[in-house]
Symmetry: C2
Subunit: 451 residues, 2 copies
C-alpha cells in the first residue's frame, strides 16, 4: 500500500510501527484481531480527516474510525487492513452556549474531558458508559450509561453533526434549534451507524443544568427479583429516578476486591435521585417503602458529593473489576434490552440458564432502561468457552426478542451480533444495506461491521 | 391509467369521482393544486397498502400517503397524479401496554381519537399540532405542538414503525425496548420523510402518565418582547413548563372574534405547568415574578380542567381564527425555529419587517422551543401577495439561519421550502437524495416533495 501522499501530509502523525498498529487492532472485547491496520493517522482537523478519506476513496482503501478503543463488539478491528483514523488529537471543545445549554465538540473529546471543561458552568453532559469514551465513539455506537433513565442516551443529546462522508465530502446535519423538520434526519441515521457511513468529526450536544440536590445510595436485597421488582415498581409509579443500576452478588464481590470496598455481597441497586432538597428526600422515602416490600436488607444514603462520586466510580469500574475475577480472561459482554415489565422474568430465566454453565458471569445492568449485561469471562483461544458464551447469548437474545426487546441496548452490532441483527430486524436489514451501498458503494468505511 | 386490478381488490373503497379526488388534491395551505390524483383508495390493513404500492411500483404510478389533509406545505398534492392512499379506515388502536407505557396504533388514528381511547388509563399522548391530525401524518412531517417544551416532538415518542416500502415490502423498525443500538435508526429516517421513502402504516408510541396537578393561565403583556423575554428567562432558570405559547395582539383579536372570548388584545402567553399540587403553585409564583419584571399586565390562572381545556381549544383554533380575519384568503404559514437566546431578536426584527407589508400576519408560536409562525393571509391567485409573502419568508429564513436555526421547526419542506432546505443544509441534501434514490429508484413515493 503506497501511503506516500498521506505521509507527506501528516509526517510523524502517520504511524506504521507494529506496536501502534497492534494497539489499534482491537477493542476491549474478546474478539481476536485477525489483521492489523496498515497505518494509523492522528489528524487534528476535519479537513485533515477529509484528506485522508478522499485519498482512501480514490485508492479503495478501508478506513476505520477510532476513538478510545473501548468498544465491546470488535468495532475498530481492521478486518481488511487499511487506515485507522485515531481522533485523540481532535480534542477541542469548540463552543459552549450557556444560554441555550448546548455545545460543539470535536469527536475525540472524551466524556470526562467535556465534563471537566464544563465544571464551572453549572452545566453537565450526562451520558456515561463505563469507559471514558470519546464523544465521537459514543455517537458511533449509540452509547448510553447510568443516567439514561432520566436524561436519555447519546441519541437524545445530539442536535447536530459534522460528518466526513465516504467520498471525503464534509456535511453538516441538524441545527442549533430545539427541533426541525428540514428534510431527512441524517443526524439519527449517523448515530449508531458504527463508522460504516462516514467519520463523525464534530458534534453539537445538548447540556443539562446541574440539579440543585443529589442523593445517591446503595440498597442490598436478599433476592435478585426483589431488587428488580423494586426498580419496576418505582418506575411504574413515576418516581423520577436519575440512575438505577443493578449488580448481582458476584459483580459486587468483584468490585469489593477491585476497589477495596465492603459492600454486602448480595443483589444490589445503586441509585441516584436529582431534584430540590425536599423533593429528593420525599422520593427516597417512597423508594425505601417499595424496597422494603421487596426483600431489602440494607439501605445507605448519602448527599455528600465525594461519597456519591466514589459510588459511581465503583459502578463504572464494573467491567475491569469483573475481569480481575479471572486474570488473563477477556469479556464477552451481552447487551439485551427488554420492556421493563418483562425484565424480572428475563433476568431470572437467564440466571437459571447460567446455572449449568462453568463460565464466570457477573450481571450488571441499567435496569431502569430494561438493559442488563452478562460479563462472560473466557479465554478467546478456548473454542469450547467461546462456543458456550455464544450459545448463552443466542438463548438470551431469543428470550429478549420474544419479549419485544432488542439484542443490543447500547453496545452495537460490530462483528459479534450480525446474525442477531438479522434475527431481530428481518428484511429491514436489507433496507439498511441499500443505504450503506448508496452512500459507500465501495464499502471502504469500517468494512465488516453491522453487515 | 388502468386501475382494474386495484378496483377488483378494493371495490367501492377505490374512488375516482371528481369530488373525492378534488378533496384529496390539497391540504390546508395556500398551495394551489395543479393536478388531481387519478384515484383515492381507502385501505384498512397494512397488507392492503402493500398491495396498492406493489401495483404502483410495477406500473410506475405515483403514490401519495394521505392522513387528514391538514398539512401546511402542499404535502398531499398529487403533482403528477397517481394514487392517493387515504388512511382514515386504518383507525385501530392495536395494543396499549399499561405497564410499559406504550401503545401500537394504525396510521389513521388521530391524536384526539388516541387520547379518547386512553381516557380511563391514566396515560396520555402529548403531541398536539393545531389540527386533529392522524398519527401517521404527524410522523411523516415530524410534527410537534404545544407540549413539546416538556414532552418533545413526535420524534421523541415513536419507538417503532411499520413501513410499506416503495417496492411494497413491509418492514418493522425499532422495538419495544427503551433503547437499542441494533443497526441503522430507520425509525428516525422515516420520521419527517414526508411520505417520500414509504408509507407509515403502524406506529409504536411512548405514552405518559397524566400529571397529578395541572394549572394553566393567560398572561398579557404591554410589550411583545416582555412576553418573549419572560419565556426565555423562565426556561433558562429551569422552570419545568409544560406548555408556553405566544400569541400577538392580532392573533388574540382573531381568537376573540372566532371563539367569542374576551382576552385582552395584547401580546399574550398561554402557559401550563404540570406537577404535584404544591410544586405547581411554587412554579407559578416564580413565573409570575419573572413576568412582572417584563411588562406583565394581567395574569389569570386556573386549575379547573374545563377552563384549561377551553384555553387550549382556543390556542388550537389559531389558524382557523386567523383565517376568519380575512374570509376567502388562505394561509401562508412560516415556521422558523431558532436557539432560544436569539428568539426575542428574531421576533422583533420580523415584526419590524412586517411593518412595511400590507399582508395581515398574526403571530403565534411555540416560543418555549424557539419556534414561531407568521400566518400570512393571502389570495393564492394574487401573484403580488404570494410574492410578498415569499419575500417575507425568505428574509425570515435568512434571519433564522444566521442565528443557527432552521427554516422549519415542525411543518416540513413539502412543496414550499425546497430552496430553503438547500440553503440550510447545503450538500447534505445530496446525501438525502442519494438515500431517496436508493430506496425509491423510480420516485413513486410522494414525488415532488422535499427535493
Amino acid at each position: 500500500m503506497d501511503l506516500s501522499e498521506l505521509e507527506n501530509l501528516f509526517g510523524d502523525r502517520l504511524v506504521t510501527s507494529e506496536s501502534v498498529r497492534s494497539q489499534h487492532s482491537h477493542d476491549e472485547s474478546w474478539h481476536v484481531p485477525e489483521n492489523l491496520p496498515d497505518a494509523v493517522v492522528f489528524p487534528e482537523t476535519s479537513n485533515e480527516v477529509s484528506r485522508i478519506i478522499s485519498f482512501a476513496s480514490k485508492n479503495n482503501i478501508p478506513v476505520i474510525p477510532y476513538g478510545t478503543g473501548t468498544a465491546l463488539e470488535g468495532h475498530v478491528h481492521a478486518v481488511n487492513g487499511g487506515i485507522t483514523i485515531d481522533s485523540r488529537n481532535m480534542n477541542k471543545v469548540i463552543q459552549v452556549n450557556m444560554e441555550d445549554m448546548d455545545c460543539r465538540v470535536q469527536a475525540g473529546v472524551t466524556r470526562e474531558e467535556l465534563n471537566s471543561f464544563l465544571r464551572d458552568t453549572g452545566l453537565f453532559f450526562p451520558v456515561d458508559p463505563g469507559a471514558n469514551a470519546s464523544i465521537g465513539g459514543m455517537c458511533s455506537t449509540g452509547a448510553s450509561g447510568t443516567n439514561t433513565v432520566k436524561y436519555g442516551t447519546i441519541r437524545e443529546q445530539v442536535i447536530g453533526l459534522e460528518v466526513i462522508m465516504p467520498d471525503g465530502k464534509i456535511i453538516q446535519t441538524g441545527s442549533r434549534a430545539r427541533k426541525s423538520s428540514a428534510g431527512y434526519d441524517l443526524t439519527h441515521l449517523m448515530l449508531g451507524s458504527e463508522g460504516t457511513l462516514g467519520f463523525i468529526s464534530e458534534i453539537s450536544l445538548r447540556l443539562h443544568g446541574r440539579p440543585e440536590a443529589i442523593s445517591a445510595g446503595v440498597c442490598s436485597f436478599s433476592e435478585l427479583d426483589g431488587a428488580v421488582n423494586t426498580v419496576i415498581e418505582a418506575i411504574q409509579i413515576g418516581l423520577p429516578l436519575s440512575r438505577i443500576e443493578l449488580l448481582d452478588e458476584l459483580q459486587i464481590k468483584a468490585i469489593n476486591q477491585y476497589k477495596k470496598t465492603s459492600h454486602e455481597e448480595k443483589p444490589t441497586l445503586f441509585i441516584e435521585i436529582h431534584g430540590t432538597p425536599l423533593g429528593v428526600r420525599e422520593q427516597i422515602e417512597k423508594f425505601e417503602e417499595i424496597a422494603k416490600e421487596n426483600s431489602l436488607i440494607n439501605f445507605n444514603w448519602s448527599d455528600q458529593q465525594e461519597e456519591i462520586d466514589k459510588l459511581w466510580s465503583a459502578r463504572h469500574s464494573a467491567l475491569y473489576a469483573a475481569l480481575s475475577l479471572a486474570p488473563g480472561k477477556k469479556s464477552f459482554t451481552t447487551d439485551i434490552c427488554v420492556p421493563i415489565s418483562s425484565l424480572t422474568e428475563c433476568i431470572l430465566e437467564t440466571k437459571k440458564d447460567l446455572e449449568s454453565s462453568t463460565i464466570i458471569a457477573p450481571i450488571v445492568g441499567h435496569v431502569g432502561d430494561g438493559n442488563f449485561h452478562l460479563i462472560l469471562l473466557l479465554d478467546p483461544e478456548n473454542e469450547d468457552e467461546v462456543n458456550e458464551a455464544k450459545d448463552i447469548n443466542d438463548r438470551l437474545v431469543t428470550r429478549a426478542l420474544k419479549m419485544g426487546g432488542t439484542c443490543t441496548g447500547e453496545h452495537g452490532i460490530g462483528l459479534g451480533k450480525k446474525e442477531h441483527l438479522r434475527k431481530e430486524k428481518g428484511i429491514s436489514v436489507d433496507v439498511m444495506a441499500q443505504i450503506k451501498k448508496a452512500l459507500d458503494p465501495n464499502n471502504i468505511m469500517n468494512p465488516g461491521k453491522i453487515f
